[in-house]
């Protein structure tokens, strides 16, 4: 298929050059030409850059309560003002971004990997379909909150002891979110795989004796990329919001640990008084999700050989 994408009528020397081009090189060229994806990349990396290096420039401690300066507006020391306990909003948003991005991306990846594996296996191997889908039903049916309480009770102290308080809780939260949000991806992937594996090119591959592993990686996976990309985008948003709910209930990060979701929910009461306290982190979440969505779009287009080169 790589050959098929070669522009016709290139000089002979070009063929030598083209042969050295890899699939991923093509994808990159295509991706670079995708306007939305480039804007998405730019925003995403800007956000990552800001939350990584921002706290080094804006060195105010996000948990420090400057009580005398509470509820203050925009100023040089506090660029976005302070909240009702005198914490610096800008520093909180930056610090919160680190946690939210880390949790969002890791949990999304975990859910995506589990969901895709379960979905592909259930759709592809008939004997696995029953058990795996019943497992999915079980996870869909389990009430999340009591499950969280149980998980926290069983594993919090163990993880704290093994990895220290912060990493331990991070692993716990990412694990919990990942483990409880893969089901939709699994069901969607399975539905697509069920249809795909009856398609002609899969039958053709099978008839020439291609092993199942090859069929899955070469033919099935590239074709289910679109729903996976959508799941990824929705998954990040979901993970960021779930984290705030989990932490709010006292099952996640300690109460003085800012995250975007938490800033939105903590400051929602102030919507009539200081709406920016909640709107800024909400916009940050939206921007992240939006940029990931555009990157996903670009990747999908770039990986689709049928539209490559258009």
């Amino acid at each position: 298929m790589t050959e098929g994408a070669l522009p016709a009528g290139q000089p002979v020397t070009g063929i030598v050059e083209a042969q050295s081009r890899s699939l991923w090189g093509d994808v990159w060229v295509q991706f670079r030409g995708h306007k939305g994806a480039m804007v998405g990349c730019f925003i995403f990396f800007a956000i990552v850059f800001l939350v990584l290096f921002g706290p080094m420039i804006h060195t105010v401690d996000p948990t420090y309560l400057d009580y005398r300066a509470k509820n203050s507006g925009w100023s040089l020391t506090h660029p976005l003002g302070t909240d009702n306990y005198g914490r610096d909003i800008f520093a909180q948003v930056l610090q919160g971004g680190r946690t939210s991005l880390a949790v969002g991306i890791t949990a999304m990846l975990l859910a995506l990997i589990v969901g895709t594996i379960v979905g592909v296996f259930a759709g592809f191997f008939r004997w696995l379909d029953g058990p795996l889908m019943r497992l999915t039903d079980l996870f869909l049916a389990l009430p999340l909150l009591p499950l969280l309480l149980v998980v926290v009770m069983l594993f919090r102290d163990t993880l704290r002891a093994a990895f220290g308080p912060e990493t331990g809780i991070f692993i716990l939260i990412v694990g919990v979110i990942g483990v409880t949000s893969w089901m939709q991806t699994a069901r969607i992937v399975r539905g697509d795989v069920l249809a795909l594996k009856e398609r002609e090119f899969v039958l053709a591959a099978r008839s020439i004796g291609t092993p199942s592993r090859r069929i899955i990686t070469r033919h099935i996976l590239p074709n289910i990329l679109s729903p996976i990309m959508v799941s990824a985008t929705l998954g990040i948003a979901n993970a960021i919001i779930t984290e705030s709910a989990v932490s709010f209930l006292g099952l996640g990060f300690p109460p003085d640990f800012p995250t975007w979701g938490r800033l939105v929910s903590d400051n929602q009461n102030f919507i009539g008084l200081n709406p920016q306290w909640a709107i800024i982190p909400a916009v940050a979440i939206s921007l992240t999700v939006l940029s990931v969505n555009f990157i996903g779009d670009g990747l999908r287009d770039a990986l689709d050989p049928r539209i490559r080169g258009r």
């Binding site: 306007k35 939305g36 008939r126 029953g130 889908m133 019943r134 999915t136 039903d137 079980l138 869909l140 049916a141 389990l142 009430p143 909150l145 009591p146 499950l147 309480l149 149980v150 009770m153 069983l154 089901m183 939709q184 069901r187 969607i188 539905g191 697509d192 069920l194 249809a195 009856e198 398609r199 074709n223 679109s226 729903p227 990309m229 959508v230 985008t233 929705l234 948003a237 960021i240 919001i241 705030s244 979701g261 939105v264 929910s265 929602q268 919507i271 009539g272 909640a278 909400a282 979440i285 939206s286 992240t288 999700v289 939006l290 969505n293 555009f294 999908r300 689709d304 049928r306 539209i307």
Partner: protein, 336 residues
């Protein structure tokens, strides 16, 4: 297909029993306590007495079997009695009683059905009606202005938590403009046009908040799936055959793109009965979602167990329906 459906239905029974048992284990392990929300002025000995009166003194397997008996035998018998007016046996059967309200859980569920169906059900319908055309047009005119705006709105709809969108709507429409009520009145009865209009007004905000989030999700999957199909060979063939563009898109592509969307909708419908916990809280709809969350917070095991089990039944059912629909949408999918 019929064979497959019957086999799946039979297989569903042990599956559901296993699920109910696992749910019971989770609820039992979970550290909440039914006396946890009582004022601290109630001394520990009295709390212990309350726990014993709830049957918490009995060992775990007995409590599970009791629940099974109450739910699988007593409740159906009771329902039959109510429908037919017969008396079966002595008529003295213990129903599944909630710990916090001391009333039959099934009655509570029935009481809360109307508002949940009105609000959450309507939001699903609205979402599907809006999302499918948006997804189709966005894919057909990829990267057009319509697509970009649609993408933007649906991403905001999905990434801003519902508690926040709900709050903003309340501040705008109830506080500032005073157009819509912020509190849903569950005692309201629709009897004429006037009261119907009141119902529409009180439903408007919660329905829109929920529909926004669901629309975002469905339209994204619809768009992605349409994009995959628009470049397939069969589309080119159909066009080459001289079919009208409209029927190419609306019949061939749409039908083949429905599989992920059917999955999402099939997962969403049991969710309707599960209620919408956060949105119901914000607008005080007090439907099934609020019932469930109160049950969980109050460690009301019989209530949570029954609700989640009903929920599990719906999930298994609708996943089966989705599987059957796959076969109809794409006849190549065979399960036998």
């Amino acid at each position: 297909m019929l064979n497959y459906t019957i086999r799946r239905l039979l297989f569903a029974i042990p599956t559901l029993l296993a699920i109910s048992f696992i749910i019971f284990i989770v609820l039992d392990l979970s550290p909440g306590d039914p006396t946890g929300n009582l004022p601290l002025t109630i001394p520990p000995e009295v709390r212990e007495q309350i726990r014993l009166s709830l049957g918490l003194g009995e060992p775990f397997p007995i409590r599970y079997l009791k629940w099974c008996q109450q739910f699988f035998i007593n409740e159906p018998l009771n329902m039959i009695e109510q429908w037919t007016g017969w008396t079966i046996g002595s008529g003295e059967r213990l129903r599944v009683l909630s710990w916090s309200t001391r009333s039959p859980v099934v009655d509570l569920v029935v009481e809360r059905m109307p508002q949940t169906l009105w609000v959450v059900g309507m939001s699903q319908i609205v979402a599907v009606i809006i999302a499918v055309p948006i997804g189709v047009i966005s894919a057909y005119k990829q990267y057009s202005i319509f697509d970009q705006i649609g993408t933007f709105i649906s991403m905001i709809g999905f990434s801003v938590p519902t508690f926040f969108t709900g709050l903003i709507l309340i501040v705008i429409f109830s506080v500032q403009l005073g157009w819509l009520p912020s509190v849903y009145d569950t005692t309201h009865r629709v009897t004429d046009w006037n009261s119907f209009w009141v119902q529409v007004r009180q439903m408007a905000m919660p329905t829109m908040v929920l529909a926004l989030a669901t629309t975002a999700q469905i339209s994204r999957f619809m768009r992605a799936s349409m994009l995959d199909n628009l470049n397939q060979d069969y589309v080119r063939t159909a066009r080459a055959k001289g079919l009208r563009e409209r029927s190419v898109v609306m019949i061939h592509v749409l039908r083949n793109s429905m599989i992920p969307v059917v999955t999402v909708i099939a997962l969403g419908i049991p969710g309707v009965f599960g209620g919408a916990i956060i949105t119901e809280q914000i607008f005080k709809v007090n439907g099934l979602g609020q019932l469930l969350i109160l049950g969980i917070q109050g460690a009301d095991i019989p209530l949570v167990q029954t609700l989640t089990f009903i929920f599990a039944v719906l999930i298994v059912m609708f996943n089966l329906i989705a599987d059957v629909l796959y076969g109809i949408l794409d006849p190549r999918i065979r399960y036998d």
